[in-house]
């Protein structure tokens, strides 16, 4: 469904909803005739409400948490991060899933949604504004924190730390990125890749105008 369809539908449902009844004034007793009229009107309103055509609920929107998780991952793989987010929210209640992995994936989807362009919209982001993007990043960081509380293999922990570093770098938090990259080195001292990456970033911090991260000389 297009965004327009969603909005129009929401608006039409809202417009068709009966207005809330005004609150009765305290201490005032209605005449029996008026009371009867109110009962009849209420019954008619109830009948109308029950018989009116309700907007159909697409069966695809009713999914189990585990199915939601599968869909979230699939949407993420398709680059449809914005659409994966509500699925991840449903999936948080899934039983028997690897919660550490779920939080990592959820965080990654939130991060990626910040930079996701609109389909057919050139460089226009799919998110409305920086307000929403910062909110998504705050939530992404929260999920990354939650993931880090679980036991995980050293390789996965290194991945998570490095990932966070890259998020921070992308947003311009240079020192935070540096610290994460150094932590990745500490967590996996044998990794030449982590060490080189951290060193390259340090060189970039010293000479930001001279190199890009890709062009930093990596001679030991």
């Amino acid at each position: 469904m297009s965004r327009r369809d969603r909005r129009s539908r929401g608006a039409s449902v809202r417009a068709a909803r009966p207005a809330p009844a005004p609150a009765a004034r305290a201490g005032r007793v209605a005449a029996p005739g008026i009371a009867l009229a109110i009962v009849v009107a209420a019954a008619a309103a109830a009948a109308w409400w029950a018989l009116r055509p309700h907007p159909s609920v697409a069966p695809t929107t009713i999914v189990s948490p585990s199915e939601a998780y599968r869909r979230a991952l699939r949407l993420g793989l398709d680059g449809r991060f914005d659409e994966s987010i509500p699925m991840f929210r449903l999936a948080e209640r899934a039983a028997g899933v690897d919660l550490a992995r779920l939080h990592v994936n959820f965080a990654a989807s939130l991060y990626n949604a910040c930079f996701q362009p609109r389909r057919g919209g050139g460089n226009i982001p799919v998110s409305r504004s920086s307000f929403e993007r910062v909110a998504m990043m705050r939530e992404a960081i929260d999920h990354a924190d939650r993931a880090a509380r679980y036991d995980m293999t050293p390789a996965r922990r290194v991945f998570l730390v490095r990932e966070r570093g890259e998020w921070m770098q992308a947003w311009g938090f240079t020192w935070e990125a540096f610290v994460q990259y150094r932590q990745a080195v500490s967590a996996d001292p044998s990794s030449r890749d982590q060490a080189m990456h951290a060193r390259a970033f340090m060189t970039l911090m010293q000479h930001p105008d001279r190199y890009s991260l890709e062009s930093v000389p990596l001679t030991p």
Binding site: S2, R3, R4, D5, R7, S8, A11, S12, R14, A15, R118, R119, G120, G121, I124, P125, R128, S129, S130, F131, R133, V134, A135, M137, R138, I141, D142, A170, W171, G172, F173, T174, W175, E176, F178, V179, L204, M205, Q206, H207, P208, D209, S212
Partner: protein
């Protein structure tokens, strides 16, 4: 057959709509209630005399207009072609006479060059087409949309009967529109149509013309002097036909009156400026309209946006300026609401950031908090902001500590950033440090207001260390002034704010003067500065140098900057961001820009009332015209809201103002000095161009004499013409497109 046109739409309710009479009555009651709310104080607004919009000056080569409303998430642009576009669909307006299509409007003007009821004219043969349009909010429960009411009047100015045809067509925008609404559909699958009857079907417009699908049209034969009127209503979002018809039952004139009342009331809610300078007062009003309209809702919060069209996003750097400008001109509630919205931009580790790589956001957010929350008196919620500020300062100190450990030459400065905008380089930006220091000072003030003096003292100490490091870094940089970045690369941007408002250096520091000299010399003199290319003028980035000039006694330069800000505005009173010097062409960077509006307000306010130090400074840059008798009322300062009146006569100058608990500095009119020692308890300044009044003083009068000595640092004889005199060029349309990259 075409339906005959209607002169007054409200008297011609279609038969098909009469079935909904009860609903219409209810809608009318709601509308009346809405109008009553809009009217605010209910003060009568005098009827507007008809005016020729083509007589209103505009600095730009092409006309443009904005139909906008506070809280609405879309706005309509009145395009240079005379169409209306909201980022989703365009209403193409094609008036013609005897087969001759009317030309585009020459000018699109607000009433009194500020009140956003827009007027423009088009002409086809003997037929003059006059357009009047305004925006109002949609009625509850839709609170993020607006509706535009347009009235079109066709008048035969010839001596013989003439055909007149008006065709309106709703369609998709051109392939490369200047902006797109964030929530516009991805495809053109949604039907675009005028409403037909009082149905529940969604439509993009209502008109009293004969409508069919996406078009509506009227054809008239006008006798000499005859006028026919048409009306249409355009919602920012598609709405049910019956709702549009109901809204349209209120005549256009009443809708226009409601808009006038709302905006007049909104402006009256802030500080009052009666300077005997109607053009400048109108400019202030126009700027306030832009700032008030460039706000969006997010749940219960409000956020400032950069512009109603292409900058419908939040930048801390632009929003902070908007908040400050609203705060200093008395729109305290709005400024504080926007400041609250900024709290959502604080990251878990403490900094504030809205766009990737724009590390000046932390200092700007803290500065905006302080500007909004401490005038005219600390807000009850100040402790919350003090906490947020402290977390931000702790984050910065953590960084500076890591930088100290690195031993790098600029390690103690903010790390590198790539703002994709502004300085347009990847480097350690001087402006980031300048703004961070402004943030430290703001945090200290917020903490003191929250009665956490010990913590404020600690922040002051940290600021002193930061300033020492800043000076050391400047020395290492070998720059004679303040470079854009510590690495020496990038365009001037944040460094221009170092003297004021950041006060990273004392405004009297020679480096500030050297920076102003360099930037102004490149631009041809004090006024607007250029960005990227010499032909690309930037409206607001150099405006801080105007206040810096005031603070250092360079009144002529400050006045020159103000002249430029006043000159480069359109017929609505708003200003763009970037435009060419040669052709005055803004390209796709449509006015009005909120930061441009803020720059104008801030400079004028500082010229009258300046309270950023420990002394209240009045009439720092009051213009000669203002001295014939001016008043400023309800101006918020750090020492309460004050009223100020000042005037000059043959014998001397006189000020009356509300008592404040600090010393007040009174600057004499330009070209004068003290003609006699000031009466006690006043004291003369060393320069003889100002007097000091002790706390509690409410009135002062001094004798003046002509001042023959030159003002400091007047413009050198060799300086080129500054960018401040804009006769509108009549060159070919569609000049070069100014570019300023902005992220996201």
């Amino acid at each position: 057959m075409l339906r005959p046109p209607r002169v007054t739409t409200a008297r011609n309710i279609r038969a098909s709509e009469r079935g909904g009479a009860i609903a219409a009555c209810a809608a009318a009651v709601l509308a009346a209630a809405g109008l009553a709310t809009l009217c605010g104080c209910g003060a009568p607004v005098p009827p507007r005399a008809a005016f020729d919009p083509d007589t209103i000056p505009s600095a730009y080569a092409r006309p443009s207009g904005a139909l906008m409303w506070p809280g609405a998430s879309r706005a309509f642009e009145i395009t240079p072609a005379g169409d209306l576009y909201n980022g989703d669909w365009v209403v193409r307006v094609r008036p013609s006479s005897a087969g001759v299509l009317a030309g585009p409007p020459r000018v699109i003007a607000s009433e009194d060059r500020w009140l956003p009821v827009e007027h423009w004219r088009r002409t086809s043969g003997p037929v003059r087409w006059e357009f009047e349009a305004l925006a109002l909010p949609e009625e509850a429960p839709r609170d993020t949309s607006l509706i535009v009411s347009i009235e079109v009047r066709a008048t035969n100015t010839g001596l013989a009967p003439s055909e007149a045809r008006l065709a309106l067509r709703i369609g998709a925008p051109d392939p490369s529109p200047p902006f797109l609404a964030f929530d516009a559909p991805d495809s053109g699958a949604v039907p675009l149509r005028w409403s037909a009857g009082g149905t529940g079907e969604f439509a993009q417009g209502w008109s009293d013309l004969m409508a069919s699908g996406d078009s509506c049209v009227a054809s008239w034969t006008l006798a000499p002097g005859e006028t026919r009127t048409a009306r249409c209503v355009l919602p920012a979002y598609a709405a049910p036909a019956r709702a549009l018809a109901s809204w349209a039952r209120t005549p256009h004139a009443r809708r226009a009156e409601a808009a006038r009342r709302y905006w007049t009331g909104a402006i009256a809610g802030g500080a009052g400026f009666a300077l005997g300078d109607p053009a400048l007062e109108g400019a202030l009003n126009a700027a306030r309209v832009v700032l008030l309209a460039c706000r969006e809702r997010r749940g219960r919060s409000w956020v400032p946006i950069g512009n109603p069209f292409q900058y419908r996003d939040v930048w801390l750097r632009d929003g902070a300026r908007a908040i400050q400008a609203l705060a200093v001109c008395g729109h305290t509630r709005e400024a504080r609401e926007l400041a609250e919205g900024f709290l959502h931009f604080q990251w878990p580790q403490g900094p504030f950031l809205s766009q990737r790589g724009q590390l000046d956001g932390t200092g700007q957010a803290l500065w905006a908090f302080e500007q909004a929350l401490l005038r005219p008196a600390p807000d009850d919620s100040v402790a919350r902001y003090a906490d947020a500020a402290l977390r931000a300062i702790q984050w910065c100190e953590w960084q500076r500590d890591l930088g100290r450990q690195s031993g790098w030459p600029f390690g103690r400065m903010m790390p590198f950033g790539d703002p994709r905008d502004a300085e347009l380089t990847r480097a350690q930006l001087v402006g980031n440090d300048a703004w961070m220091m402004a943030g430290y000072r703001a945090a200290s003030r917020l903490l003191r207001a929250a009665r956490r003096d010990a913590m404020a003292d600690s922040v002051d100490l940290a600021l002193a260390r930061y300033r020492t490091d800043f000076l050391r870094a400047l020395a290492i940089s070998r720059s004679p002034d303040l470079p854009a970045s510590w690495q020496g690369v990038g365009r001037d941007w944040g460094n221009l704010a170092a003297g004021w408002p950041c006060r990273a250096l004392d405004p009297g520091d020679p480096r500030c003067a050297a920076l102003a000299r360099r930037v102004w010399a490149a631009a041809g003199g004090p006024g607007l500065t250029w960005y990227g290319a010499r032909d690309s003028l930037q409206y607001y980035v150099g405006a801080d140098l105007g206040t810096w000039a005031l603070l250092t006694g360079r009144r002529a330069q400050a006045d020159s900057v103000l002249d430029a800000l006043l000159a480069f505005r359109d017929a609505n009173g708003g200003a763009g961001e970037l435009f060419t010097r040669s052709a005055h062409e803004f390209g796709g960077n449509l006015p009005p820009h909120a930061t441009s509006a803020a720059a104008l307000i801030t400079l004028v306010r500082n010229a009258l009332v300046f309270d950023d130090g420990d002394t209240l400074a009045l009439t720092l840059g009051a213009r000669t015209r203002w001295w014939t008798g001016a008043t400023v009322s309800r101006a918020p300062t750090r020492w309460g809201a004050i009223d100020l009146a000042f005037r000059r006569d043959a014998a001397g100058a006189e000020w009356t103002w509300s008592a404040v608990p600090v010393w007040t500095s009174l600057t004499l009119p330009s070209g004068t000095r003290l003609g006699a020692p000031p009466p006690a308890p006043l004291r003369g300044c060393g320069s003889g161009r100002c007097v000091l009044a002790p706390p509690g003083t409410i009135m002062a009068r001094v004798v003046l004499a002509a001042d023959a000595s030159p003002a400091p640092c007047a413009r050198g004889p060799g300086a080129a013409r500054p960018a401040r005199a804009p006769p509108r060029p009549r060159g070919p349309r569609g000049g070069p497109r100014p570019s300023r990259e902005r992220s996201s």
